[in-house]
Amino acid sequence: MRQTITTARLRLVAQIGAALVALAGCGHYRTDRSPATIQVDIETSPTSTDPRFATDAISSRINELIFDSLVKTDRNGQFVGHLAERIERPSPTRIVFHLKHGVRFSDGRELTARDVIFTYDSILAPESMSAKRAGIEELKSIDAPDSYTVVMTTALPYAPALEMATEGIVPAGTPLPAKGTAAAPIGSGPFQMVGYARDEAARLERNPYYPYPSGAPRSILFKIVPDPTVRALELAEGVCDFSGNNIEYDVLPWFAGHQFLKVSKTPGTTYKYLSFNFRDPRLRDLRVRRAIAYAIDRNTIVNTILRGAGRVASGMLSPENWAYEGNVTTYTYDPAKARQLLEEAGYTADRSGLRGLRFEYKTTPEGARLGEVFQAMLQRVGIELTLRTLDFATYYADIQAGSFDLTSLQWVGINDPNSYYMVFDSHKTPPHGENRGYYSNPAMDRLVEAGMRTVDPEARKAIYAQVQQLAAEELPYVSLWWVDNVAVMNRRLVGFDAYPNGSFRSLATVTLSPLGSEPPD
């Protein structure tokens, strides 16, 4: 009897132990993918699978793999024809695109001028309420004289006209997306979306009608993994093949211990900035904005929090941009000067050093750390920042509507300097454009509108040099830094080209070396 109890208990323990060992033994919680599939971990769900509406970075990068546009930008930011094999500019107000023949959507239909016209018309239609409309508002008309020719006409000379030609094309007749449904439109790009579960994953597979380089991935799984630690683990486990610009900088050194992972760091055009709400009279005072600019130690932040994966920025255009002007007013870290400016502006410090200036800084959970840094740095000069953390979708909606005091955000894929018009022209406030801070300066308006109308590149460059200097003087934004493009990938992805705007485009043309036989360093 005594034996029975002991044996029974021992057996139970042994069973539990065996179960644990079995679980451990199948520590392979990796999903079993076919070798021709790659998994890309992204941090939040794409907000839209329709290229006519998506403005955030993740949606745009995914849509770029699914939809083609008339032109694309190459790695140097120059426009090259994509759907258009030949481009003519007969006059400053007209561009003629000659389309390639034989381009097919993933359902087999050929892409013709009709689809292009339809796409642009649907964005321009008032009921679309697309944020992209502001970008192509200058289009007076878009016509198709024949099936393979598209003519864009603007009312006035429009220098950045080719930027308008970067919209992803959907088939004629594609309905506007009803909120909440996720029926993804068909595209003519290298991939098509075959499945999308919000907050889980988006699955892309090859467009059967797109020329397929041998050895390239057959399908891509975009898995939504909000937890940065899990993304790092999935890379280390070989579950995830690629992760772009969403790995914590502090974790990057950790990957050095994993031989089959590669960290790629290239200068980027992504521009991180601090935005002000000009409807607040306190922030309309230039001295306050300058004080804030002097109070932030950007150099130290780049070297410590970013671990050097960035360059302190002087303005929205990075040095790679053709219109870049580096000779502008800059603000090196100078808290004493900041305090002096605030005193001049009438905000005297009390005994604890605070000046009765309180602002609310909105952020996402991922951005909270930077927010706390700003909070501490601004407090040193007497400004109190309260942090408000919201989930990304809510946060982005608030910012787009202009509902914030201070916030920091980034512009991804800045290319043509006409972006200055979109973000600083006083008419371009929400919902008409991206001037979310309601900045209004007639001098800036004149310059950016002139820059838009001047077609001669030399004259244009001169105008934008003035714009950059004005922006540096007037501080509608405080420029923070240009973020390096940091990607961590499995070495089995061979031939990945990093684009300064973090594009995933190259995923369509990488070669996959077989799993388990990664090439030595």
Binding site: M1, R2, T4, I5, R9, L12, V13, I16, L23, A24, C26, G27, Y29, K179, G180, D199, P226, D227, T229, V230, L233, E237, R279, T389, L390, D391, A393, T394, D398, A401, G402, S403, F404
Partner: protein
Amino acid sequence: MKNYLVRRLLALVPVALGVATLTFAIIHLVPGDPVVAMLGENAAPVDIVGMRRQLGLDRPLLEQYAAYLGGLAVGDLGESISYRKPVSRLIAERFPATIELAAAGMLVAVLLAFPLGIIAGSNPGGAGDLGAMGFAIVGISIPHIYLGPLLMILFSLDLRWLPLTGRGGLAHLVLPALTLGTALAAILARMLRQSLIRVRESDYMRTALSKGLSARSALVRHGLKNALTSVVTIIGLQMGALLSGTLITEIIFSWPGIGRLLISAIGARDYPVIEGCVLAFAITYVIVNMATDLLYAIVDPRVRIS
């Protein structure tokens, strides 16, 4: 028995009503304007008016309350602002995940408690007792928000045995269930220990010994039998802690249940979803309590008569 059942069911109604009313009160009687909180102070007046109408906030409070109760009766909890889907559907989609986690937590608790309690109770004052009870008191004191990450560091990051977060196969359930069930295991273990000690010192033992049974087996057999009703009682009493623990554990492990839905709804200021999730948890708890009472009544007839 049927009388008892009917009585208990009827008693459920005022409590459910009270819970629904309190939830309504919390959400609707808050100072400040929830629509302004949602859309921001700089929102266009036409948007504010539109949203207010959409949420039914422009109607008098009593009418809102009546509509709310009416909706509840047919299972309509309104529509989520961020997902644009009916709240009831969102909750129904995530309910199984929460139940799975809660059930796994209970199972782990029982599996852990029995060996611990038996070791402790069969030799009180001994090394095993000290060890087991030390383990138990620590288990009750470690909060989920620390135990979870601790287990993650050990089993997922260092040993790489188990996945870190998310729901998937059995392997994904282990760490969350352990995190959730440890506190309950500790309480159950202590109770089992008490039960065994009591049996030791009782008449049962003497009778059993006189009958020639080994001390150990008699001890365990009777002790465990007595303990069974107490196990049910304790699980019933701890159900509240278990449910709210499930909420926290879902956040820690990114488990796609109602708890996670609630917290993200709070972040998105999605009031209909917040209301729905709070109700879902509370009503679940009320029903589980009733079920425990009924179970008790089946096991112990004395309860029915009182």
